[in-house]
Amino acid sequence: MSENLIVPTMADMMAEGKQPEILFWVGSAGSFDDRAKKITRAFVKILNKANVNFAVLGTEESCTGDVAKRAGNEFLFQMQALMNIELLNAYEVKKIVTCDPHSFNCLKNEYPSLGGNYEVVHHTQFIQQLLKEGRINFNKETYKGSRITFHDPCYLGRANNEYQAPREILSQTNAAIVEMKRSKSAALCCGAGGAQMFKEPEKGNMEINVLRTQDALETTPNIIATGCPYCNTMMTDGVKFAHKENEVKVLDIAEIIANAQDL
């Protein structure tokens, strides 16, 4: 990518005696996974366009511990959490945004009782807010004539009851938004959650991501929209499995907006 992104770190800000309005929690996937890094960049492009006064932890950020917790390792989770909380509290962080629903859930619901109290928002909620406030604009015609279906991430939807924000963003694109037969609270998991992303699945007769991708492909979409780096990987693999990668793109909501003309 060519555009220059402006990404201040908390340490830089602190050195200049400044306090950002919001911390962008990049997360491990967003920092290291090749596909997810593109989502991170797309979201930063939006933040820059909207002139959001944000910062990242950069090399000070560490795994939330969410995946360890779901795997049953409460020790490792709490060590990560307490370490992160110490850092976040030292920087007096008040508000956090993240592109990863797992981090979102963990920071929002599981950090408070360990001493980490922040207002945590998912990037789809944040983008929706920016659009509402008119802080970003994009050419609504960009996706005219496309069909977009949204796959609800479990940790945004069922886990935290956020079904509207991603849909409201998509509804502004002038694309046809088509719902899968199971969506919102009835959405099928992509198969990555609960630490499955990091292991081979148990013996069965099918992969979960293939099944979920079938749901998505039944809507004959041009774009499968996601709001989670892990869902993105799973759905992308599912689309490849179905040999549809030339017809169907899997894109994060942040990418859909960032790629739109005139953002």
């Binding site: 090399t59 049953g72 409460e74 709490q78 009851n161 099928l188 959650g193 292991k199 148990e202 099918m206």
Partner: protein, 440 residues
């Protein structure tokens, strides 16, 4: 003579209620084997949940056909049982239709009961067909092989018998009322059983009285047997759905509890001023067990969940792991927990109130690690459950035991976790490279 009847009735009633009480006490004792957890916060939200979800069946109707049919049986069954009040008074005091003094309202009540009884009958037959003929996946599942499938059918047969006896009793009564015999004075309206009554035409009065009495006795005896069968059945949910929805977790579904015992240890480890050689505060204290390998390690709400489970399989039919052929079935997690809890309860009964180690546990003997590791923690089971049970919370507690007490995570997960320990990410990348994405 009629005196004997009343005594017999009182004995029957006492036996029925007595045995039920014994089992309820056992049930409460077993549930209390669970660990403590505080679920008394926010009572207004709890009452609301109970009213909406248990009384109002708001989650049942998510599957409209089954939901509608269930409401018919539920409403019918509950309302018809108002009649039991009258039956008990009549039985104890030798009266006949003692509440008939209410006149028009009484007629209305009996009439409604009859219509409901017919609706229940029809619905129960549809239920039977759904379970046994149409092979709906969640009912055909191997989870239900053996006793659970029979249990479900017994309940349906029970209802058919009870409703039939009720209508037969009314029909005979109606017939006798029309003949103006003895104490069979005109009371009630019989929109359904009036069509059954003609079968008694031509029968001797005495025979019809015997039929009426027999149906009456069998009906009340059947209700008492049914009441006592509940404890041994998934049908316990008709009672436990209420406390179960009341005590259900109110947090967002994504929130897992943080183990306090772990927090204490981690804080000690991270505190540079802590003296590693300091004697533990209470040297005799049993070190906390992390996670759950048996029912006693679960909390009492999880055990209440197990007793409340209706075995409907909505959870399993929405489970991504189960849909793709994995062994995991959240319904089976609940059924296993109940079966093991019952086994532990019987052990306690046999050993004069104390549990004697039987060399078995919920983990491995009932639930295998393969099932536990297949879960994606997606919460579909929790969302689907019509009475707010969380199979997921049991799965997580058992994973905790596997990982923290037995270091028995799948190898790839161990790699992932050592990556987090060493470089703060589940992948083997250096923490110092966390910002590289900016320039890529």
């Amino acid at each position: 003579m009629s005196f004997l009847d009343n005594i017999l009735f009182a004995l029957l009633l006492a036996a029925g209620i007595g045995y039920f009480t014994i089992n309820v006490k056992k049930l409460i004792r077993n549930i209390k084997l669970g660990q403590d957890v505080d679920r008394t916060d926010n009572p207004s939200a709890r009452w609301k949940n109970m009213t909406m979800v248990a009384l109002g069946q708001s989650k049942m109707v998510k599957r409209p056909i089954a939901g509608f049919l269930h409401i018919v049986v539920y409403v019918g069954f509950v309302i018809i049982n108002i009649e039991v009040i009258e039956i008990i008074i009549d039985g104890l005091f030798g009266t006949h239709r003692v509440l008939s003094f209410m006149g028009g309202f009484y007629d209305f009540l009996i009439g409604s009961f009859e219509i409901l009884a017919l609706l229940v009958l029809v619905t129960v037959i549809i239920f039977w067909i759904r379970r046994n003929v149409t092979k709906i996946g969640r009912f055909a599942s191997a989870d239900l092989d053996g006793k659970p499938r029979n249990d479900a059918n017994y309940i349906l047969y029970f209802e058919v018998v009870l409703m039939t006896l009720f209508l037969l009793m009314n029909a005979a009564d109606f017939h006798l009322q029309n003949l103006g015999i003895g104490h069979y004075n005109q009371a009630g309206s019989f929109p359904i059983s009036q069509y059954i009554a003609p079968v008694f035409n031509g029968m001797s009065e005495g025979l019809v009285v015997i039929i009426e009495r027999t149906a009456w006795w069998l009906h009340i005896a059947g209700i008492l047997v049914f009441l006592n069968y509940l404890y041994f059945s998934k049908h316990l949910h008709i009672l436990l759905a209420f406390p179960n929805t009341f005590y259900a977790d109110l947090n967002p579904k994504g929130k897992l509890n943080n183990l306090q015992s772990v927090t204490n240890e981690v804080k000690l480890m991270m505190d540079p001023s802590a003296d590693p050689f300091a004697a533990p505060a209470n040297p005799d204290a049993v070190p906390a067990k992390f996670g759950a390998s048996d029912v006693q390690d679960l909390n009492w709400v999880q055990l209440l969940n197990a007793y409340s489970c209706t075995e409907c399989g909505r959870c399993t039919s929405s489970c991504p792991a189960n849909q793709t052929g994995k062994k995991l079935s959240p319904r089976k997690i609940m059924m296993d927990t109940r079966d093991r809890l019952e086994e532990v309860g019987r052990n306690i009964d046999l050993n004069k109130g104390v549990f004697v180690d039987d060399g078995k546990s919920l983990l491995n003997d009932y639930i295998t690690p393969e099932e536990l590791w297949a879960c994606t923690t997606c919460n579909a089971c929790v969302e689907e459950c019509p009475i707010n049970i969380s199979p997921l919370s049991i799965i997580i507690d058992m994973r905790r035991y596997l990982v923290m007490e037995q270091s028995a995570a799948p190898m790839e997960l161990n790699n992932m976790m050592s990556n987090i320990e060493n470089n703060g990410a589940p992948w083997p990348y250096n923490q110092m490279d966390r910002l590289n994405w900016i320039n890529e």
